[in-house]
């Protein structure tokens, strides 16, 4: 009885989440006129017209490419800085550690909109307005503190015994981190990578403020600026929304296995 109820609840939840997505995919495959009909869109003819228009006429592959580059670069750089930084925060004794960690958090509490003007001035001074690094750099200011916090929490949870055993086995502190702590942090790194990637992929305000030419727009900006001459091209917007969801789904699925797998089981005690 409980099992049936649970399954019903899961099915209801899935429906709640999947229905809009399903509707989005279906609608993106139908002629615009079908969207305005009162009855259900199901049953009418499906075609790839919106997608074709999106890529052939609007060169939508450019914002997709921009977004992939920006989000990947942000994720990679944020992790490259955050992982060693978080390890140091969790394991090393140094002065003003708490103050430093508090500052890292404080940075990420500023409302994004409040720093747009000053960031704009800095980026202009650096000559980075309307460039890819001009997006990655401001993204890092938000993504890195988040990554440092997530990873510090994880490294603190990791039993010290493991690294201490590695030390006695002849590993230097650095070697112990590289051979033991960081491989065990793989699930946390994957989780952090997903969050960072999602943040950079979905970011709108900075992308809108710091890009000028259509060639530099990211997907969210490009979708928002999709315009027809006489009407809003809903079909193309929906097609673009589907395209925007694909890389996210790919990234989540790619890392999901690593997240689910609790690597630390069996490390200590039973």
């Amino acid at each position: 009885m409980m099992a049936i109820l649970r399954r019903a609840a899961i099915a209801a939840l899935l429906l709640l989440w999947a229905a809009p997505l399903g509707w989005m995919v279906m609608a993106s495959l139908q002629p615009e006129s079908a969207l305005y009909q009162a009855d259900s869109p199901a049953g009418t003819s499906f075609n790839w017209n919106h997608y074709r228009a999106l890529f052939a006429e609007r060169r939508f592959w450019q914002p997709v490419l921009n977004s992939i580059v920006v989000a990947s670069a942000t994720t990679l750089l944020a992790l490259l800085v955050a992982v060693p930084c978080a390890y140091a925060m969790a394991r090393l004794q140094f002065r003003a550690k708490r103050a430093l960690l508090a500052m890292v958090l404080a940075v990420s509490t500023f409302p994004q909109v409040s720093i747009v003007p000053s960031l704009f001035l800095i980026l202009r001074w650096l000559g980075l307005i309307d460039t890819i690094p001009g997006l990655v750099l401001p993204y890092l200011t938000f993504a890195t503190p988040l990554a440092v916090w997530l990873m510090t929490g994880f490294f603190r949870e990791l039993p010290r015994d493991l690294e201490e055993a590695a030390r006695l086995d002849g590993a230097s502190r650095l070697r112990a981190a590289v051979e033991v702590a960081i491989p065990l942090a793989a699930p946390a790194i994957a989780t952090t990578a997903i969050l960072t990637f999602l943040y950079a992929w979905n970011e709108f305000l900075f992308a809108l403020s710091f890009t000028v030419s259509p060639d530099r727009q990211t997907v969210p900006v490009a979708i928002a600026l999709l315009q027809g001459r006489y009407q809003v091209p809903w079909g193309q917007i929906l097609a673009a929304a589907v395209i925007a969801s694909v890389p996210v789904a790919v990234v989540v699925l790619a890392f999901q296995r690593r997240i689910v797998k609790g690597l630390t089981t069996g490390a200590v005690k039973g």
Partner: protein, 348 residues
């Protein structure tokens, strides 16, 4: 193989006011098996961590074979440690766990394999070599942790309560295996435990620690026969030694001795094995039987004397006493331990 010495080592942890170790000096000779025992918070694990180099002493020096290693990092001390948690690397197979220390020392893969195999063999780990720690039972993990230490041929072995997560039967067997291992390797071993019985079976000498102070270092027999103070007297031996004060203590000593020590504040310790339960009316004191615990080879009888002192008697074999019985109690002659008011042993 190595002799290890701590010289006036003091350790104060940043977060606590009380020192974990308050000026401890101890020497462990080459090839010795030393057990360090004490209640939790006595600083016994700190001793091990200082020797391993995982902690730095606040003051004092650590020497290995006469060389001051106080500032030498753990990876360069060439010691092996078996952790209470086993601390196996969960992302590596048993084979990789066993060979990790050799790999860190830059030994060629082929040589690692040829050194891992015999050790795995001797510990019965051969069929498990390609498994990960998560797939092993507690006893198997414990053996891997031990094997990881043995493979390296370290200068000394450090054990931090490695048996406390095993069930009692396996624990007993592993204890014997450790002693056999020590006899085979002849390596210096330092074994930390809170279990006095484990310390007695594993230590050629035992160091008893309390609140960062070394109370006594001696052979198990010496600790049992001549405890240096009240703490050691009650900590070593099971059931714990009876301590009695005042008039009862004096009558337990006998007239001659009581007279000689007449102007001293003292307490007297009697091991339960030296408390003899006799028929009512006989013996020194009248008492009532409380709890009776038959253990087969001995029977533990708890009695309360008429003046309210609780005594534990361990009598060989079965005992016919029942709760509520009136009995007499006397002590085996010449077996009393005498302690001064400060708790130090008084020799007579």
């Amino acid at each position: 193989m190595a002799a290890i010495a701590l010289e006036d080592v003091r350790k104060v942890h940043a977060e606590s006011a009380r020192p974990a170790l308050a000026g401890l000096s101890i020497e462990i000779t080459d090839g010795e098996r030393l057990a360090i025992v004490g209640p939790s918070g006595s600083g016994k694990s700190t001793v091990l961590r200082l020797i391993a180099g995982l902690d730095q002493p606040t003051r004092g020096r650590v020497r290995i074979d006469g060389v001051d290693v106080t500032d030498v990092p753990p990876e360069s001390r060439d010691l092996a440690m078996v952790f209470q948690s086993y601390a196996l690397y969960p992302h590596m197979t048993v084979r990789a766990n066993l060979g990790f220390g050799l790999r860190m020392r830059g030994i060629a893969a082929a040589d690692i394999a040829s050194r891992v195999l015999p050790v795995a063999d001797s510990l019965g780990l051969q069929p498990l070599l390609d498994r990960k720690p998560a797939e092993l039972s507690g006893g198997e993990r414990q053996r891997v942790a031990l094997g990881r230490a043995i493979v390296r041929h370290p200068r000394a072995f450090l054990f931090d309560e490695p048996l406390s997560n095993l069930d009692p039967q396996l624990r007993g067997r592993t204890r014997t295996e450790l002693v056999t291992l020590h006899q085979r390797l002849g390596a210096t071993m330092i074994y930390v435990t809170h279990d006095q019985e484990e310390a007695m079976t594993l230590g050629q000498r035992i160091a008893v620690l309390r609140e960062g102070h070394l109370e006594q270092v001696a052979t198990p027999q010496e600790l049992y026969d001549r405890p240096a103070n009240r703490f050691v007297a009650t900590f070593i031996g099971s059931p714990p030694m009876n301590l009695i004060d005042g008039a009862m203590a004096r009558s337990a000593l006998g007239n001659a001795l009581a007279q000689r020590l007449a102007n001293m504040q003292l307490s007297v310790g009697i091991r339960p094995q030296d408390v003899i339960v006799v028929s009512p009316g006989d013996g020194l004191f009248a008492a009532t039987v409380g709890v009776v615990e038959p253990l087969g080879s001995t029977t533990i009888v708890h009695v309360r004397t008429d003046d309210g002192t609780h005594l534990i008697a361990a009598t060989p074999g079965a005992h016919k006493a029942r709760p509520g019985d009136s009995v007499g109690v006397r002590f085996a002659t010449g077996r009393a331990h005498i302690f001064s008011a400060e708790g130090r042993r008084v020799e007579v």
